[in-house]
């Protein structure tokens, strides 16, 4: 199993519903967020190009964050979900320093927190909160190892990119053009 997300930037409107849904679903304290929106604009009026990217932990295949964690609090769970065991985390910040995406932060309680791919929902057969709330239906979640999953088919069919491929982390969040 290899969980991944595919996000269609040709539909995303940057509304941040995914961000607030994550906040209520995962008790993310006010002032913090596990996901966020980046806006990219290029060109000159009136020849302009714009898209939004809903970003979060990329659940990388090659994980500098897990590698540098001195306690094993950061680990790779079933399906490639990168997680943090709060009670094992000493809050040293090594993982934060090693994530090229700024996906991790110190929870006010001291441990490091980040996107969990909503594994508590995924276990119940549901989509992650952000995916299930998105009003443009631009987010897709699924198993890359299953060639029949929606996401596998989408990735085969559509041109896509990942964030900072040069960082060499092999992100598992794909943006469809």
């Amino acid at each position: 199993m290899r969980y991944a997300m595919a996000i269609e930037v040709n539909k995303c409107v940057g509304c941040a519903d995914c961000v607030v849904a994550c906040q209520t679903e995962n008790n993310v304290p006010i002032g913090y967020s596990r996901d966020w929106i980046v806006e990219r604009v290029s060109g000159t009026y009136p020849d302009i190009f714009l898209h939004f990217e809903s970003q979060r932990c990329n659940h990388c295949e090659d994980t500098p964050c897990v590698r540098t964690c001195p306690t094993g609090a950061s680990f790779i769970d079933v399906g490639g979900i990168v997680k943090v065991t709060h009670d094992e985390c000493i809050g040293c910040g090594a993982c934060i320093e090693s994530c090229p995406y700024d996906a991790r932060y110190f929870h006010p309680d001291g441990y490091v927190d980040k996107c969990t791919f909503c594994d508590h929902r995924v276990k119940e057969g549901m989509d992650p909160a952000c995916v299930s709330v998105c009003p443009t239906y631009c987010m897709h979640f699924g198993d890359l190892d299953d060639p029949d999953s929606d996401i596998s088919k989408l990735l085969k069919k559509r041109e896509n990119f990942t964030l900072l491929p040069e960082a060499g982390t092999a992100p598992q969040i794909f943006y469809l053009k």
């Binding site: 040709n10 940057g14 509304c15 209520t24 006010i30 060109g43 009026y45 119940e124």
Partner: protein
């Protein structure tokens, strides 16, 4: 009679800018709300149906509460055609309205101590006594009609009905004159019917959608955003006309970067192409429309080449997009828009859009506009309404034939000291509306308010209007209260329930309770045969074969349609107009002396050194009402002023630099705003979202009560609006003929120094 003949805004003394320094640190307590909670699965939580009130799309959803009766989340209802199970960001974050620690907590009454005005917390009984005394005093002196109600949202009708039972039908909402009345008028004049909400556009079946200044994706009207996204999946065509590279423009097949205020020229040129190239739906036009030949003659002068000089859109693009639209017809929608109070000829502009839809044959056609249906709920029998001597109709309809609802700005005019007509306003009730942000000409509104004998505000937050009230009543948020059944129109008729998920926090009360208590104290017992609103609703629902308990289970219940959704082929159809046809030439307008066919008139240009002020929405906020919502504030806590790089060069601006704005009348923004240099805006305009620059801060028993996360953040567009043009047909306000210049130095400190 009120004790207060000179009403000061109850505020902390000092200039607006000094106020910023006074702002207490953002309260930190709120950060703890969601912390330290064990994660419960959905089936350990309780679901209560709700209808979102963060905007007026009114999506149905579910409020999830945990075993300790804490609200955990709000999620869309799958059966709801407004949300299809997915709320927009504002709805998802709607629970922040409940948790907001700055909420109004107790009824407040204005008191004066040692010459200083302040609010005092009182009991509900005391507050009602003050209100009833003042209502009676105004009644005795001027008549019941002299109390005007301004309202919005689902709480408004409770008060509207109470006032009608009492004998005043003087009411209005900014959601008409400042929002959609012009568009409704344009469609009524053309098709004999307005559009209402949700607009019956068949986006799910269309092939071509035209958005004219309609910024979906920023305007998060949920159902339409979802449908447009599916249109993108279907590779349908989207044509967006907007001077700004909006989110919708970015996702469109064609973006026409129009010079602001010139849309009517484009619409007429499109009509010209479609008629002259014989691209219109001949059979449809022949069967259903009136006045085609006159239209054809009328648009001859509006060639694309001419329109190019007006709109700055290349003529070639006008031809091309006209053909694209015609190609898709009748599966084409020129979306009517919603907030259409732009330039003072807005009824005519929407008429031009309605006409375009008519000649493309999209009205009543699959992929165009469908015929919506809704459920009629009977009213509980009550004695007939007393007949007021005059009402909003008398104020507005004499001047504007199509003012089919109260016109806020004109009622405000009747409240000014210089008004000496027959419809004097001496009391104002503001229920869930904030005129200082919503109605242009802030100074006039303040003057009108100062001239009142009594002002009441019913709100959930210490918003700006509360500072001007004599009595402030804290309403419970939508998650804590029961309101009227939602019976809005859709493809499939349905009813939906809003039921309280938790008890009202603090000493707040639901609107129905407040209105009823007031009514009872005014002796209106006969109109209130019920004690609990639930009884009333249950009775209504039983009449259509359902009940509160059923709706509590399902949230939304659908019924079978009784009429066809589209015109049948070759069907004879009677439109509700004088001619029974779609009136391309409006016979009413002919009679009333308005242009029977839309005529292009140029609008004001910016004076030298000024830029046009364009405003719009942010996807995660509704006007100013959500700015203090902790969850939504967390998504975006300040606005930016969009400035084209060329303009930035002239003014030597840098990103995130703070600037102030000034309009040609010399009015300066109270607060600064940060600059965003971006190619997404034209060089002749600046853009910012509406609703910021909050000045809501009151003093209660010596302590400051304010919207701490919103206060002083950014600039209020409303503050700077000027050169307001009144739409002759409706009285709607054209608010986009406003210009501003950029100040890089704080004009407020300068004033203090000199």
């Amino acid at each position: 009679m009120s004790k207060f003949n000179r009403r000061d805004f109850i505020k902390i003394s000092g200039t607006a800018t000094a106020g910023v320094a006074l702002t207490p640190a953002l309260s930190s307590g709120i950060g703890q709300i969601f912390q330290n909670e064990k994660k419960l699965t959905d089936d350990q939580l309780t679901k209560t149906p709700t209808i979102c009130e963060v905007c007026f799309w009114n999506c149905a959803g579910w409020t999830y509460t945990d075993p300790d009766n804490k609200i955990i989340k709000v999620v869309g209802n799958d059966k709801d055609p407004h949300s299809n199970g997915r709320l927009c960001p504002r709805g998802t974050g709607g629970l922040g309205m409940y948790y907001d620690e700055n909420r109004l907590k107790k009824p407040l009454v204005r008191v004066e101590e040692n010459g200083v005005q302040s609010f005092k917390e009182v009991s509900w009984d005391e507050a009602f006594d003050v209100i009833v005394d003042n209502m009676k005093a105004i009644d005795e002196k001027y008549g019941k009609e002299s109390i005007a109600l301004f309202y919005h949202g689902k709480t408004g009708p409770h008060f509207k009905h109470m006032m009608q039972y009492w004998g005043s039908d003087t009411n209005a909402k900014p959601a008409s004159a400042q929002c959609l009345i012009t568009r409704e008028a344009g469609y009524i004049a053309t098709y004999g019917t307005g559009l209402a909400s949700p607009e019956p556009t068949d986006i799910n079946n269309t092939e071509c959608l035209v958005l004219i200044g309609n910024h979906f994706g920023e305007n998060m009207h949920n159902g339409h955003v979802q449908e447009i996204s599916k249109l993108i999946d279907r590779k349908g065509t989207i044509i967006t006309v907007d001077p700004r590279f909006s989110t919708a423009a970015a996702h469109s097949t064609h973006w026409l970067p129009i010079k602001p205020s010139t849309d009517l020229a484009l619409l007429l040129a499109w009509t010209n192409v479609i008629i002259n190239e014989n691209l219109y739906d001949k059979e449809y036009v022949a069967r259903y429309t009136y006045g085609f030949d006159e239209l054809k003659a009328h648009v001859q002068k509006y060639t694309p080449e001419w329109a190019q000089t007006v709109t700055t859109i290349p003529a070639g693009d006008i031809y091309k997009t006209a053909r694209v639209m015609a190609n898709a017809a009748p599966k084409v929608i020129i979306h009517p828009g919603r907030h259409t109070a732009w330039y003072g000829d807005d009824t005519q502009r929407t008429r031009a859009m309605a006409i375009l839809n008519a000649i493309l044959g999209s009205w009543g056609r699959k992929g165009g506009f469908y015929f919506p249906e809704n459920i009629k709920l009977p009213n509980h029998p009550h004695p007939p309404l007393p007949k007021p001597k005059w009402s909003w109709r008398d104020i507005s309809q004499g001047k504007h034939k199509l003012a089919f609802a109260g016109i806020t700005n004109e009622i405000v005019d009747c409240a000014l000291p210089e008004y000496d007509g027959p419809y004097k306003i001496k009391g104002m009730f503001f229920v869930a509306t904030n005129p200082l942000q919503a109605i242009p000409k802030e100074d006039t509104i303040k003057k009108a308010i100062q001239n009142q004998d009594f002002v009441l505000a019913v709100d959930t937050m210490p918003s700006e209007i509360t500072g001007y009230a004599d009595v402030v009543l804290p309403e419970a948020t939508f998650l804590e209260r029961l309101d009227d059944i939602r019976v809005s129109q859709n493809k499939s008729p349905n009813v939906a329930l809003r039921y309280p998920a938790v008890k009202p926090k603090y000493d707040s009360k639901p609107g129905w309770w407040i209105a009823r208590e007031l009514g009872i104290r005014l002796g209106l017992h006969d109109y209130y045969h019920w004690e609990e609103f639930e009884e009333y609703l249950d009775w209504q629902l039983k009449q259509i074969g359902t009940s509160i308990s059923e709706l509590k289970e399902v949230g939304v219940k659908h019924f079978d349609r009784k009429t066809p959704m589209y015109l049948n082929e070759n069907e004879e159809y009677w439109f509700n107009t004088n001619t029974g046809k779609i009136e391309l030439v409006s016979t009413d307008f002919q009679e009333w002396g308005y242009d029977p066919l839309p005529v292009y008139k140029a609008h004001d240009e910016a004076p030298a050194g000024y830029l046009r002020l364009i405003y719009g929405r942010l996807p995660m906020h509704t006007f100013g009402r959500t700015l203090n919502n902790p969850n939504l504030n967390d998504l975006k806590n300040e606005p930016k002023l969009w400035v084209n790089p060329k303009v930035a060069k002239i003014y030597y601006l840098e990103n995130n630099q703070e600037v102030w704005l000034q309009n040609p009348e010399g009015k300066v923004s109270s607060f600064p705003i940060k600059v965003r240099i971006t190619e997404r805006i034209r060089h002749d305009s600046v853009f910012m979202p509406h609703g910021f620059g909050n000045k809501g801060r009151i003093k209660v028993d010596g302590k400051i009560l304010e919207m701490s996360r919103a206060y002083g953040r950014g600039i209020s567009d409303a503050e700077l609006l000027h050169n307001i043009k009144i739409d002759p047909e409706t009285g709607g306000t054209g608010m986009r003929n406003s210009f501003v210049t950029i100040l890089t130095e704080n004009p407020h400190t300068k004033a203090v120094e000199s």
